[in-house]
């Protein structure tokens, strides 16, 4: 039996790695949303001044968020042992360029919108395994870079269906390391790929809900916990429809769902016309900033963040394949 693995899918970090610092940068629409004041920087435009492409802006958002996170605790990039990052672009180019800038050992991640929790899980493993003292984790997404890649040109006059979600323009960075106090990373549950045959790129919530269900169930089973052991169980970006589906699936199996929420529900207000809520790597990456703030204010002591990723490729999508989905969970606790 592996020493630090509990049950089938859950890892326990005995050395209790802490979240030392974090930071978030969002676009103007996210800034106008209900969580706007909880982000470190709200851009005035989806394109930074002087940039010739949205990709450049997204890359800078990721990089700047890491720099702010480092500066908050007066560290240098060189103080990090590893950098783990990912985004939604082909070949995760934003992460690659950011890693080029930071100049530290780098592992690129692709887990679609589960990238952040994938990164935090791996950071926990690196630290708990004694391979690293401090690890940087970033994830980003950008409305305009994602839309052009996965759907239509942004200026095209098409009607988005009500099931569609709005890709969050945002980047979040986290530094995980060892410390005496702070918000601690106690467990991670690594998900399995689930595919329920949904092939509609405008309905990712329904596609991802079974993956979230599977991971949350496995997590509770592995640790012998129940829903009520958490102040909040929050999924990454299921959106309005996906959250409804997830709750329905849980109801069917007799679980209570009172403390289930979703980052994609929190980030936009009802008047912002996002249709089914937010999505993208950036969604959980920036909303976690807000959640950690709430934890520091003692509004929540233990949360389970379940990043949900729709592993969608336009190529296989056009070939008629469905969307495989994955979800990874991390447990964060604060008793300060």
């Amino acid at each position: 039996m592996p020493e630090k693995k509990i049950g089938n899918q859950t890892l326990q970090f005995n050395s209790k790695p802490k979240l030392l610092s974090w930071s978030s940068i969002v676009g103007p629409m996210e800034g106008k949303g209900p969580l706007g004041k909880h982000f470190d920087l709200v851009l005035k435009d989806n394109l930074l001044e002087g940039d010739t492409s949205w990709e450049k802006t997204e890359q800078k958002m990721m990089q700047h968020s890491m720099e702010i996170a480092l500066e908050k605790i007066k560290l240098q990039a060189g103080d990090l042992d590893f950098y783990l990052a990912g985004d939604l672009l082909n070949q995760i180019m934003n992460a690659n360029f950011t890693a080029r800038f930071l100049g530290i050992s780098f592992l690129g991640l692709y887990g679609a919108c589960s990238t952040l929790t994938e990164g935090l899980s791996l950071a926990g493993m690196l630290i708990d395994g004694g391979f690293a003292k401090q690890v940087g984790v970033s994830a980003s997404s950008h409305y305009d870079t994602a839309e052009r890649q996965l759907r239509y040109p942004t200026e095209m006059g098409v009607q988005r269906p009500m099931t569609a979600q709005w890709t969050v323009t945002g980047a979040g960075s986290y530094i995980v390391g060892k410390a005496d106090s702070g918000i601690q990373l106690t467990h991670a549950t690594i998900g399995k790929v689930k595919d329920m045959g949904v092939s509609n790129a405008n309905d990712m919530g329904t596609a991802m809900a079974p993956a979230a269900l599977d991971t949350i169930k496995a997590h509770l089973q592995d640790l012998g916990r129940s829903m009520s052991d958490y102040d909040i169980i929050i999924t990454g970006d299921l959106g309005v429809l996906g959250t409804t589906v997830l709750k329905e699936l849980f109801h069917k199996e007799g679980y209570p769902t009172d403390n289930i929420s979703d980052c994609g529900l929190l980030i936009y207000g009802p008047d912002q016309d996002s249709h089914s809520g937010g999505s993208g790597c950036g969604c959980s990456s920036v909303v976690l900033n807000y959640l950690l703030g709430q934890m520091l204010n003692k509004k929540a002591r233990r949360i389970l963040l379940v990043g949900t990723g729709a592993l969608l490729s336009p190529v296989t999508s056009w070939q008629g394949e469905s969307i495989p989905c994955i979800a990874h969970g991390v447990v964060l606790e604060y008793y300060g």
Binding site: S53, E55, P153, T154, E155, Q159, T163, G197, V240, V245
Partner: protein, 218 residues
């Protein structure tokens, strides 16, 4: 030895077939057991097939394919059940409202086009010439509104009402041009200008050819 194993695998295969007959509602345990069993048998079949191929024979291929077929059947049942459960949860598209908007905005664009055409005819152009001139004006306006960032806002409420008229065609080309201009004029604008409009042009041409032929013969 191998024959006996194959025999067993085939027996399991036919036994499973009894379980996998749509429409079926599975209990989770049975599903998990079947999935696991199929994975194991499939793995064996792949190995046996590989060994047979190396020995210059074609054997075990049918066994592998039959297991794959079962795996797909099981997956399909699960997919159908999930679809049935979730379909009713999706918020319905507001069809009536969308249709009304599409009718009026589409109608407005066409009325505007007609007015322009009449103006041209008043100015002395023949009906055919006025039609061409109007097309040019509408395409220009569609492109301009796209460039200024208004056309997608119109499209959001009007739907087909602003996609079907020729202004929508202009929008699909100009929006692609704007989108891919960052990749340069060759690989970006040049190569991807017709990403959206391409299929319309290709099949529009194909259909007009067919209709032209029919017209020629009757």
């Amino acid at each position: 030895m191998r024959e006996k194993e194959e025999q067993e695998a085939r027996e399991r295969l036919s036994k499973r077939q009894g379980n996998i007959q749509p429409p079926t509602v599975f209990d989770e345990n049975l599903k998990t057991r079947l999935e696991k069993e199929m994975l194991q048998d499939h793995q064996k079949a792949v190995m046996w097939e590989a060994e047979a191929v190396n020995g210059g024979k074609e054997k075990y291929k049918s066994l592998r394919q039959e297991i794959e077929k079962q795996q797909q059947q099981l997956q399909q049942i699960v997919i159908n059940n999930y679809k049935k459960d979730t379909q009713k949860l999706a918020q319905k598209q507001t069809v009536v409202k969308n249709t009304i908007w599409a009718f009026f905005v589409g109608g407005l664009i066409c009325t505007f086009g007609q007015a322009v055409a009449l103006l041209f005819m008043n100015g002395g152009l023949l009906e055919k010439e006025a039609g061409s001139a109007t097309t040019v004006i509408l395409i220009f306006l569609g492109a301009l509104l796209t460039g200024l960032g208004y056309y997608d806002e119109i499209g959001k409420v009007a739907g087909a009402g602003s996609i079907v008229p020729i202004t929508g065609f202009a929008n699909s080309i100009v929006s692609s041009a704007l989108e891919f201009k960052t990749e340069g004029f060759i690989y970006g604008v040049g190569a991807r200008l017709f990403t959206v409009a391409g299929p319309v042009i290709v099949y529009g041409l194909a259909v007009s050819l067919v209709i032209g032929l029919i017209y020629y013969f009757i």
